[in-house]
Amino acid sequence: MTSWEPRILGFLCNWCAYAGADLAGVSRVQYPPNVRVIRVMCSGRVDPVLVLEAFRGGADGVAVLGCHPGDCHYLTGNYQAERKMAMASRILEEVGIEPERLLLDWVSAAEGQRFGEVITCFVGRVRALGPLSGVPGASERAAVGEGIAASDRLRWLVGKERELVEAGNAYGEVLDADAFREVLWRNISVEHFRQRVRAELGKGPMTVGTIAGALDMPPRDVLRIIVDLEDRGIVHSGGMDGDSPLYVLAGTGGECR
């Protein structure tokens, strides 16, 4: 018997899930005391960055609960939540944190009993996964994930997803949902790569070779990322190490810090 208890954050929408949680109380539905609730007006307000931040801070699980599809108080908010959480889940997988630690589900204002069931079930699931601290370097992984979730490219793509696969793109073509997800997932991997390179550079000026060695990546791929980061003004070269240029994160000032 271990004394560890999962620490879980719950983001509940004001109109359905939060009301359902209140009804669970009124109905005295008993469920495990592991969840700390943050009330948001809409499940679609839950930014993937916030989810990753919760994991970075040490949450063992995050539950995002909204209105059932079609019931959203804000018309489309829960559909937006669905896509954002799909991305958050994929990012977790990418950085090596079990995506099962993130739950997106729907609870109506009349489903007090169901709220208790959803929570009981999820607490059990997280308990089975064990503490997040069991994942080596969990906090750092989540921090990298947070960087991925904050990337403007991904945010653009996930923000546009519904429009592109349901209404159509700039050419009036409706994109295939699965194909679009592939694009999104590929971008998550690329962004992950970029974040790792950035994180590595955060330790100080480095050559492509050093980074490649540290990250166990082909130098060719690292170079491509460095060039791209240089283009965006995130990285600049700062001196040489023998024949190889040293790269520095912009804003860290290299030698001054």
Binding site: S108, A110, R155, W156
Partner: protein, 1001 residues
């Protein structure tokens, strides 16, 4: 308008109709007394599990309205009360009301529920239709408003336990009935209906066989808060049923039991119950036994199609003779006669009787006391051309008291009745309302946080399961907490008084209450903050009851630890919360009405009656729209005379300006501040207005089948109407009327709603005027809903012959030497019949007009897939758009009758006046705001916003605060963090995350 009127309205009946009417009136500057005989408001809708055709959770969509009504400063709830006496004249009525002894002081009761948990006496739970038990002291349902218990005196034995347990001292065993006198200017009656008592149809076995339930009982069975907690179970043995039958028209369309009318909603609610049951338990096999499938409302036909094709609901057109029980298994045997005359028998596990609407006894008593006439069927008597008026001037009606109807129609009528009731007393607007004066808000910006934490015991509800004194001590140690205390009930009036003093004494500039849920109590505490001179948003709540002590009752240590975390989270956020204010925007107090038909003219006159200017834009050269082609109503009223009167009133009204032959070229602005440019023949007029009413109507489609347009004797229903008006001689002739021409087909899947009744109306006029004429009506389902059913009945008595046809065997019309030949398959005989007709009369579909799409784009409001305008919410906001300040009336919404159009036009006027009756508009406080320095103008937030509240201006996103609803979707979507939702900023949510995870802040 009545001079010297009293600026208050009495609304009798607290169901969805009463709530909607009360909110509209209260938001337009009138005092409202909302009376209900039950101890809480909510009515029938509160009992429903889901609502058709969207399958929305009934409580989810209703609860926000319940809360709004409960806390509205202009609405006074008078529950558990009945009208006893009524006198006076329009504009000044005196009402005597008996407030029944409740034995619980609703002001003192905190709704905590300890009394009901401990009460030793059981009573029948009428809210769950008697399928389980409640206690002698009870709350109507968990979300009830007011949140106050009542004692059922018939059951209570006076044992005294609740009084001993109630720490709020709310029990009053010596309570007595009390007579209250009210003065009001006008009255709205909406006492609702009763379900037909299925015991009056003993052949169906309700009350004898446990597994025969009524539809409302089944609704409770489906409900998560129902007797079986949403498990679909048979009452006899608690086993999940597989085969469930719905029997339609129980107590409807049945003169045998005194109900000759159709109840209008049962077909669609049966479909809903079947679909929801199947969603609960996919193995359920639902069968609906029906005569005609009457899915005539907006979106209902598609709902029917989906139920059949996607959910596999079986529809069986037949008559059920009786239900027998197999006593061994409690299974039920249904004997029925198929359309072609075979007798069959089938076994079911559960039978649901789709009971109809009947007039309620309470409503009859009310009508008698108020002095309004009832029909022979016991419903409130109304004139088809004046749908929300009763026989007594100044007394209005809405909802099912005037006849069976669904929720959206009820809501429309409620707003419509509000428009009429307030129009009468418009001179008294704002005379009886107005909040109390509040002290100025202290400017706390830049001050270090001084946080006060108030922790509620809620009697024993929190204190019994959590270490509250320990929690107070813990709170004192958190950063910037300068005061912490515990209260027996933080919400009680005496605590609230001390609350103000404590805030001032300790110079608190942030306040946290750890108690119940912000959903019910935040407004109360916020108003106390305002009384203490603090901004209402310098407040946080920690929900340590509903989401902590009540759900971890046996785990004191972990519940206390969780409560500590919840308080710490609130303190963490309190460090960085800011005062917020609602942005006030000026409002141009006038309206633009697009469309000069019945809906447009009616809405314009109703708005003008309230004292505001209106511009009507009509693209045709004359007013009247479709009304120009209609001569009589189903009741026989003269429509042309009515139209002449209406047009004359519009033209004579000094507040209404009419622009015929005009089109809209541009509309700029937003709620309260629109600027529209009209184009009439090249010249442009600019109109400034605060709201828009869309009343663009619909058109009769042009049929392309049955020789229409090729043969002069193939005409439309409108042609027949004109011929009858012009006195065409039809004696001795044979007419074949064909229904659903272009409706309910793949290319136009909706039902046009009005054609069945129109055809029956005209058929009757033909046979009544020319007894030797022969009329055949070829139909798919006869949808003469409501009281129109009696026309159908009369037409059959008078010899009109009705022949049903199926879509896959449509009638065939051919021109032969002798005349027109119509061949149709008679499903009863099972063979083709040939009709030699002099004329074929088609009922073409009602279609949306050209131009809806362009107008929709101008106003940024959507159309549905059928091309009609799409309202904000099909159930509860049927005349609003999701874009604030734009409203909808008449056939622009969907096909409908004259009376329905008038009611909806009044409703649009009422909704419009909630905005233009004030010189300013208050936006939400928790709106989004853009940091221009960070925003690159990518437009992602524009796409994320469901309310068109964001647009790109000069390379940046700009929020129109008047339109923002504060959902925060934009903030979660923004690429760069440039857009933030006030009160829910990233940093603020992060502070909650930190508070939840980090022991040390």
């Amino acid at each position: 308008m009545t001079p010297d009127a009293v600026g208050a309205v009495l609304v009798v009946g607290g169901g969805i109709a009463g709530m909607q009417a009360a909110l509209d009136l209260a938001n337009s500057g009138f005092k409202v007394y909302l009376v209900d005989t039950a101890p809480g408001i909510g009515g029938t809708m509160a009992q429903l599990d889901k609502t058709f055709p969207t399958n929305d959770c009934s409580m989810c969509i209703m609860a926000p309205k319940l809360v709004d009504v409960g806390r509205h400063p202009n609405i006074e709830l008078v529950t558990y009360s009945e009208v006893e006496g009524f006198e006076g004249t329009p504009g000044d009525f005196r009402v005597r009301i008996r407030r029944k002894a409740r034995y619980v002081d609703p002001e003192a009761c905190t709704g905590c529920g300890v009394c009901a948990r401990e009460c030793p006496i059981d009573a029948i739970n009428s809210f769950n239709e008697g399928m389980n038990e409640r206690r002698a002291i009870y709350l109507l349902y968990p979300q009830a408003v007011p949140l106050a218990f009542a004692i059922d005196r018939e059951r209570c034995i006076g044992c005294g336990l609740c009084e001993n347990l109630c720490l709020a001292n709310a029990i009053r065993y010596d309570d007595k009935d009390e007579i209250v006198e009210l003065r009001v200017g006008s009255v709205i009656l909406c006492p609702g209906f009763e379900e037909f008592d299925p015991a009056l149809k003993p052949e169906y076995g309700h009350g004898r066989f446990p597994n025969v339930v009524s539809s409302i009982e089944f609704e409770r069975i489906l409900s998560a808060s129902g007797p079986f907690r949403s498990h679909v179970l048979r009452p006899s043995d608690g086993v999940q049923p597989r085969r469930i039958a719905w029997l339609q028209c129980v107590g409807s369309r049945d003169l045998g039991c005194g109900r000759d009318y159709c109840s209008s909603v049962c077909c669609t609610y049966a479909i809903k119950e079947a679909v929801i049951a199947k969603e609960h338990v996919p193995t359920i096999e639902p069968t609906i036994f029906f005569m005609d499938m009457r899915t005539f409302g907006k979106g209902f036909e598609a709902y029917y199609d989906r139920a059949r094709d996607e959910y596999g609901v079986r529809f069986l057109r037949c008559r059920v003779s009786r239900v027998e029980e197999d006593p061994e298994t409690n299974d039920l045997l249904i004997r029925y006669e198929t359309e072609d005359g075979h007798i069959e028998e089938e076994r079911f596990d559960l039978v649901v009787l789709s009971v109809g609407f009947t007039a309620s006894e309470g409503a009859r008593r009310l009508a008698e006391r108020v002095g309004v006439e009832l029909t022979e069927r016991g419903f409130c008597a109304v004139d088809g051309l004046d749908p929300v008026s009763t026989s007594r001037e100044g007394v209005f009606v809405c909802g099912s008291f005037a006849g069976p109807k669904d929720i959206p129609e009820t809501v429309m009528e409620a707003s419509g009745a509000a428009a009429r009731a307030s129009g009468l007393i418009a001179s008294a607007r704002d005379t009886l309302v107005g909040g109390k004066a509040l002290p100025a808000e202290a400017d706390v910006r830049g001050d270090a946080p001084r946080i006060g934490v108030f922790i509620c015991h809620c009697g024993i509800n929190i204190g019994g399961y959590i270490d509250v004194p320990g929690l107070v001590a813990y709170a004192r140690g958190l950063p910037n907490v300068v005061h912490a205390e515990d209260n027996l009930y933080t919400c009680s009036q005496d605590t609230q008084k001390r609350f103000v003093e404590t805030i001032q004494e300790h110079h608190l500039n942030r306040v946290i209450v750890a108690s119940c849920t912000p959903r019910t109590h935040e407004p109360l505490f916020q108003s106390t903050l305002r009384e203490a001179g603090l901004n209402a948003h310098l407040f946080e709540m920690a929900n340590i009851r509903d989401q902590c002590s009540w759900v971890h009752m046996g785990e004191r240590a972990s519940a206390t630890a969780k409560a500590r975390d919840l308080v710490r989270m609130a303190v963490s956020k309190a460090q960085i919360i800011e005062p917020l204010s609602k942005v006030r925007l000026g409002v141009t107090q006038s309206a633009l009405v697009v469309g000069g038909g019945l809906a447009g003219m009616t809405a314009a006159l109703a708005i003008a009656e309230q004292g505001y200017d209106v511009d009507i834009v009509e693209r045709d050269s004359r007013l009247g729209g479709n009304l120009n082609h209609i001569h009589t109503t189903a009741d026989g009223a003269d429509v042309q005379a009515f139209l002449r009167g209406l047009t004359a009133r519009v033209e004579a009204d000094g507040r209404v300006r009419v622009h015929t032959g005009a089109a809209i070229s541009t509309i700029e602005g937003y709620v309260g501040n629109y600027r529209t440019t009209l184009d009439h023949g090249g010249s442009g007029t600019v109109i400034e207005h605060g709201v828009v009413v869309v009343a663009t109507g619909a058109v009769e489609s042009v049929p392309t089948e049955y020789l229409c347009g090729q043969d002069p004797d193939v005409v439309t229903q409108t042609d027949l109407e004109r011929m009858l008006a012009e006195g065409a001689d039809l004696s001795g002739s044979t007419l074949a009327l064909i229904q659903c021409v272009g409706s309910r087909e793949d290319h136009r899947p909706y039902c046009s709603r009005i054609c069945c009744t129109n055809a029956v109306k005209n058929a009757l006029r033909v046979v009544e005027r020319y007894p030797d004429a022969r009329v055949f009506v070829l139909y798919r389902d006869m949808r003469t809903y409501g009281f129109n059913e009696t026309l159908y009945e009369r037409a059959r008595e008078k010899g009109v012959i009705f022949v049903r046809y199926d879509l896959d065997r449509k009638p065939v019309v051919a021109r032969t030497g002798g005349g027109l030949e119509v061949r149709v398959r008679d499903p009863i005989l099972g063979e083709d019949i040939d009709i030699s007709a002099d004329r074929v009369v088609l009922s073409p579909a009602i279609a949306p007009p050209d131009g809806n799409e362009a107008l929709g784009k101008l106003l940024k409001v959507p159309l549905n897939s059928d091309g009609f305008f799409l309202e904000a919410h099909v159930k509860l906001r049927p005349v609003d758009f999701s874009t604030e300040g734009v409203f909808l009336a008449g056939m622009a919404h969907s096909p409908k009758f004259i009376g329905e159009t008038i009611a909806q036009a009044y409703a649009a006027a009422s909704r419009a006046c909630t905005i233009i009756s004030k010189d300013h508009f208050e936006a939400e406080a928790t709106v989004s705001a853009v940091d221009d320095a960070m925003c690159v103008g990518c437009g992602l937030c524009v796409a994320a916003c469901p309310y068109n509240a964001i647009e790109l201006k000069d390379g940046h996103a700009a929020v129109t605060e008047a339109l923002c609803k504060g959902c925060g979707l934009c903030a979660a979507t923004c690429r760069s963090g440039a857009i933030q939702q006030k009160g829910f900023k990233d940093q603020q949510i992060l502070s909650l995350i930190k508070g939840a995870i980090c022991e040390v802040l």
